[in-house]
Structure formats: structure tokens, C-alpha cells
Point group: C2
Chain length 197, copies 2
DNA sequence: AGGCCAATTGAACGTTGTCTAATAATTTAA
DNA sequence: TTAAATTATTAGACAACGTTCAATTGGCCT
């Protein structure tokens, strides 16, 4: 067959990515397959490669979509919340990861070959999410220490990430930790207290 | 051919695991292949499967070896260190991960299928490493708060893990963080200070 | 109508994990 | 010392994967 009028190239790209997103959520990164995506949307494997370029670029696009959803989730949970916004943010972090286990895990399972950098559009998404956290940290820090907000936010992001990661990969269950969210929140309040001496 | 007298079953198992370990260190988890391991030790792929059982069990055994090395590295760096042992421990954590990037990363890239638990021998190795950290935390905590050592150690392990993870996967570089080790150490001292109020 | 060109295909290739029937060597039994 | 049982090892088969690409299809323009 040749040109098909029912989908533009742009629409087809979106179809592939969103079907891939759906499939990744179901099967997880290890069992994800571009062939299966092609089959499900009724196109051949060749078309997927013509439109997306490679497995890596497909994964990048899918993970990018996950980042969008994650940011949306975070903003939704944070909107109209006036007190304890930091606790709410950490809760939203965990919530998204647990509700979208396969998608969230794939963000870190997938890596470009050594030496290759993430494309700009992807890097920007990561920075955007980080910026939300920086802003939240800035509001709870004394104005005199406003310059500490960015490095502190990066560090606390890593800290919360670690707690979330150990929750999902079973390490915390193995070690007998029963309330990882509160543990993460405790580390955040400790750090802010230390910075507000 | 049949039985070969030059290697006992036990020796062959060790050969496979240590050659797999070597190959994992070189190529990383994504490109690791049991077939290649077989080729390098001069046995066929079938033998590897007869001795190890499956790709998953081979990975488990290899990651178990990595955990052994990690614990050894940590103990070596900590031995005969009398002051600032906690700082030294975090440094050793980062050092091992950076020096053995592919091996360390594979500890978290590899996961058993959903629902399957890590075997006991593997869980015990994780607990053993954790116990070292618990002991270190206990020594810097006021005796009155000795019961906080275990949960605090778990949480700080997750925190340091997050910093190390973001260092190796490029997130920290992306965000402009230049000294992740000291950031992690700051979080640890903050937590201990808060617990020693 | 005829030709151009973008879109699409599916077969081909090399690689992977996994399984299994066949084979070879060793140990045990007669 | 043979014969039988046991164990170790192999290589080929299978399905699935990512990737490439020559061939083909069908809409568009002149």
C-alpha cells in the first residue's frame, strides 16, 4: 500500500507514542517491543521505524510523555493547596510512581548508549519538573538563604527519589521499612531546618 | 562430548559467574549476553543453562558477586578509619559505583518478573551491607536514641543511593550539581543533627 | 492519462533466551 | 571385563527482538 489518507505523519507519530506508552504501562520496560506497538495500531514494523527512527528514540518519546504526565500530576496535586505543600509534593511523587509503576521505572531503566546525551526536549522536561520543586523549596526557606533553594532542591529530589526507588524495587520491604513516604518527608524537613538555623 | 574432567560442576559454576561478572563490567546490562559468556569460557550455551538454570538466575548470581565486592570495598575503606567514618562510608559508596559503573547500575537495572522475590541468599547480602551502615549510624547517635539507628540508616541509605544514582545517570550534571557527594553528606549530617536535638 | 513521490510494507539478517533430543564420557553393576 | 546406568555436554531448533531496505502502493500534480 502507499499513502493512507486517514492519518497525517504527525498524527501517526502521536498514535505510535501513545500506544507505546499504553503498552509500556502494561508490560514494563523489559518486555516492551516496538513490533508489538506496530501490530496494535495496525501498521507494520517498518513504518514505526520510518516515523520514529529507532527503538531508542521511541523510548525517549514515550518517557517524555511520562514526564509530561508526571508534571501534570504534580501540578494538579499542588494546586489550591495552601499549607504543607512540600508534604503534598512528596506524596504526589510517590503516588505517581506507584500508580504508574512500569512507566516511572522505565524512566530510569532506559539509558542512551554511553556517551550519548539526552536530547534537548527531554532535558527541558526534567528541568521543568525540577523548577517546580525549587520554587516550593524557596518559599519555605528564609529569604536570606534564597540562593540555597536550587542546590537544596536538587539534593532533596535525589533523596526523595532514593526513597521512592527503594519502595518500588522492594529494598525497603526487604529491610522492614513500612513508611517510606514519612521517612522521605523527615529527611526533607531535617534539611530545611538545618538550612534555617 | 560428555563429562570433562578438568572442571567440577562447582568450579564450572564459578567460572561462568566470574566470566559473566567480567563481561557485565565491560558491556553493561543492556548488552550482556549469556551466549557470549559461554563462548568466552569455551563452553556451549546449553551448558550455561544446565548449570545456572536461566538468564535470571545467572544475573542474580553475578549481582550477588557485585554485592560481595561492594561490601568488601566498604569494609576496606572503613577499616582503621577512626574519625569521620560516616563521610568515609558515603565516599566509598560513590567510589564503588563510579569505579564499577556497569556492575553497580546492573544491580538496579535487573529485576525479577513481577511477583517473584529475590532468593534468600541475595536478600541476606543486602541486609549484611545495610547492617554495616546501621552500626555506623548507631555510633554517632546519642545512646538514648539508639533505637532510631535502623530506620535512620535505611532512610539515609536511600538518600545516598538517590544522590549516587543521579550522579551516574546524568541527572545531576543536567541540573548543574557539581558536588553530589558533599550534598549527600550534608543530608546525612542534617538528619543526624535533627535526631540528636 | 501518465508520471512523480511520499508512505508503507514485509522479507531478510543477525542476535537473543530457552528448550530438548542426541551424544559422549565416566561411574557403577554384573 | 563387559554391560548398563548416570552424568555432562553439545548443537540445533524455535520464537521473538531491533534494524535495514528494495519493492510496492496510492494520492497528487501536470
Amino acid at each position: 500500500m502507499g499513502r493512507r489518507s486517514d492519518h497525517s505523519r504527525e498524527e501517526l507519530r502521536d498514535m505510535i507514542i501513545s500506544e507505546g506508552h499504553r503498552q509500556l504501562a502494561e508490560t514494563g520496560y523489559a518486555r516492551f517491543s516496538a513490533r508489538e506497538v506496530a501490530k496494535r495500531i495496525g501498521y507494520s514494523i517498518g513504518t514505526v521505524y520510518n516515523v520514529l527512527g529507532s527503538h531508542d528514540q521511541l523510548m525517549l518519546a514515550i518517557n517524555g510523555l511520562t514526564l509530561d504526565r508526571w508534571q501534570g500530576h504534580l501540578e494538579a496535586r499542588l494546586s489550591a493547596e495552601t499549607e504543607n505543600r512540600l508534604h503534598r509534593a512528596i506524596q504526589a511523587y510517590f503516588e505517581f510512581a506507584i500508580l504508574n509503576r512500569n512507566l516511572w521505572t522505565a524512566l530510569y531503566d532506559f539509558r542512551l548508549p554511553e556517551g550519548e546525551e539526552m536530547p534537548d526536549y527531554y532535558q527541558q522536561k526534567v528541568r521543568d519538573i525540577t523548577q517546580i520543586v525549587i520554587a516550593e523549596i524557596a518559599t519555605v526557606l528564609p529569604p536570606a538563604h534564597a540562593d540555597r533553594a536550587a542546590p537544596l532542591a536538587r539534593s532533596l529530589l535525589a533523596c526523595v527519589h532514593g526513597h521512592c526507588f527503594f519502595t518500588l524495587n522492594g529494598t525497603f520491604r526487604l529491610l522492614g521499612e513500612t513508611d517510606p513516604l514519612e521517612a522521605a518527608y523527615a529527611r526533607v524537613t531535617d534539611a530545611i531546618a538545618a538550612c534555617s538555623d
